[in-house]
């Protein structure tokens, strides 16, 4: 990760929107795609997400439109979630597995009338694109929407107020995990109610040429709520990742980074009765194995360093290791995920992390959501 400069901007694959934002932030390389890691600092942006409205450049996320006579069967054969009866204008999150049952990505699936749109993570965008192309049958067409469209997100306890300025109907009529096609400045756009942080979350997909003006328009919005002046500020990936972990929203770069579905504890993205998809047999074998491990959240108040890979001990016996660690500004503690032996992979116990220097750090396993989103206590009016 480095401060954005001409070198990074020239090397990384970026949308015009990201290029225009890059000079104001720090870029991160996500498998060759440039994403803004921070604008004003992760902690400041985190507070924007949890208290105001965070504006998120999602243009690096992959968008593949699948159409043709067999589009439902084709997409269904690649997903762990059952989508055969997914209603039009509804979205669902699913795992996409390879034949060995390894997670390729966690994707959002949008059911349009005559097509399905697949949204990937930035880091796995090319991998998913290659997988779709490899498995494609004659009755299916794949269109890369990234060639013509940009996705922008906004989340926060007051994001619904900003969303209301875009849609020509009552915003509360759009249920969670639903989307609509609407007109914005005479262009057809996709408006989605879905997010990452547990706060009210929305995404819009606009034509490339509209992206920068829409970004500016959203950023300029402000409103007073009692004594609070609601702000809209750009938020980078670092703050987003903290807020995602706080509500245990999985990310392919963590839960899909060499972990099995069971280890990552993401079975809830698998339809229990579905059997016909790539990776099904391998997944069943994984689930039947004994002596397994899985991820559990933990907090640590100690100021000593803890890093990914550090051992986790129970009374001098190694029972796992750390796979993610961040600082949670709300908890004012370190918050992380540890891959632990099943026999002690529960919330509510005390363990010990051993850092590189051999120092011991007390860890407490905790229950998700680790932070209650403010949106849970705010009703749309």
């Amino acid at each position: 990760m480095m401060k954005s400069g001409d070198h990074m901007i020239n090397v990384l694959n970026m949308s015009e929107l990201t290029k225009s934002l890059a000079e104001h932030g720090v870029l991160r390389d996500e498998s060759g795609y440039g994403v803004i890691a921070t604008f004003q600092g992760a902690e400041h942006e985190y507070h924007t997400l949890r208290n105001h409205v965070g504006l998120i450049d999602l243009s690096a996320s992959g968008l593949y439109l699948i159409s043709g006579g067999d589009f439902v069967e084709f997409v269904s054969s690649l997903l762990t979630k059952d989508i055969e009866f997914l209603d039009i204008e509804k979205t669902v999150t699913s795992l996409m597995l390879d034949e060995d049952g390894q997670i390729i990505d966690m994707v959002s699936v949008y059911r349009l009338e005559q097509a399905i749109l697949i949204e990937t993570s930035a880091a796995r965008r090319d991998q998913v694109g290659a997988w779709l192309a490899e498995r494609k049958s004659d009755g299916v067409e794949i269109e890369n929407w990234n060639a013509s469209r940009t996705m922008i997100g906004f989340e926060g306890p007051y994001a619904w107020k900003l969303a209301q300025t875009i849609v020509p109907f009552d915003i509360s009529s759009v249920p969670y995990q639903a989307f609509v096609e609407i007109e914005l400045e005479d262009e057809q756009i996709v408006f989605i109610r879905s997010g990452f942080t547990g706060e009210y979350g929305y995404k819009i997909i606009v034509p490339h040429h509209q992206a920068m003006s829409t970004w500016s328009q959203l950023k300029e919005w402000e409103e007073e709520e009692g004594e609070l002046e609601i702000k809209v500020e750009p938020v980078g990936l670092e703050a987003l990742e903290i807020a995602m972990l706080e509500v245990r929203q999985p990310r392919a770069q963590v839960e899909g980074n060499g972990l099995t579905v069971y280890e990552a504890a993401v079975q809830w993205f698998v339809s229990y009765h579905k059997e016909e998809y790539v990776g099904y047999n391998a997944l069943q074998q994984q689930l039947q194995q004994e002596n397994k491990q899985h991820l559990v959240g933990f907090t640590a108040v100690n100021t000593l360093t803890l890093e990914i890979g550090n051992a986790v001990m129970l009374s001098s016996n190694k029972v796992g290791h750390i796979v993610q660690i961040v600082y949670s500004p709300t908890l004012e503690k370190k918050l992380g995920l540890a891959l632990l032996d099943d026999a002690c992979a529960v919330s509510g116990i005390e363990l010990e992390g051993i850092n590189e220097a051999g120092e011991s750090v007390v860890l407490h396993t905790v229950s998700s959501p680790y932070v209650l989103p403010k949106s849970w206590s705010i009703k749309m009016i």
Binding site: V92, T93, Y176, Q177, R248, A265, V266, Q267, W268, Y272, H273, H294, V296, G297, L314, S315, S316, N317, A343, C344, A345, V346, S347, G348, I349, E350, L351, E352, V362, S367, S368, P369, L372, W376
Partner: protein, 97 residues
């Protein structure tokens, strides 16, 4: 710091509680899945288990029946996950004893 045996015993007790909660969810809501397929930290509502506010009321009654612990219907944060339900039962059982 826990001794090895005490730590595992504490973990086993917790697992028994979360397993019982999962069984109650599956039985009371007539769900056609193996309770063990539910993870401790997945959301119970929305895209997690897909339950709604009517299911929540059924669960309030079930938890009171099984554990003697009352969850008030303005405290839906308890249903953030199976683990959160377990935390609530543990803290309210202790408070009552």
């Amino acid at each position: 710091m826990n001794t090895y045996e005490a730590g595992f015993a504490q973990a086993a007790e917790r697992m028994a509680l979360t397993s019982k909660i999962k069984e109650i969810i599956v039985q009371r809501l007539d769900m056609d899945i193996d309770p063990a397929f539910i993870t401790d930290d997945q959301p119970i509502f929305g895209r997690g288990l897909g339950l709604d506010s009517i299911d929540a009321l059924e669960l309030l009654v079930a938890i009171e029946d099984e554990f003697g612990v009352t969850i008030f219907d303005d405290n839906m944060a308890v249903f953030g996950s199976v683990n959160k339900v377990a935390d609530y039962i543990v803290s309210n059982t202790k408070a009552a004893s």
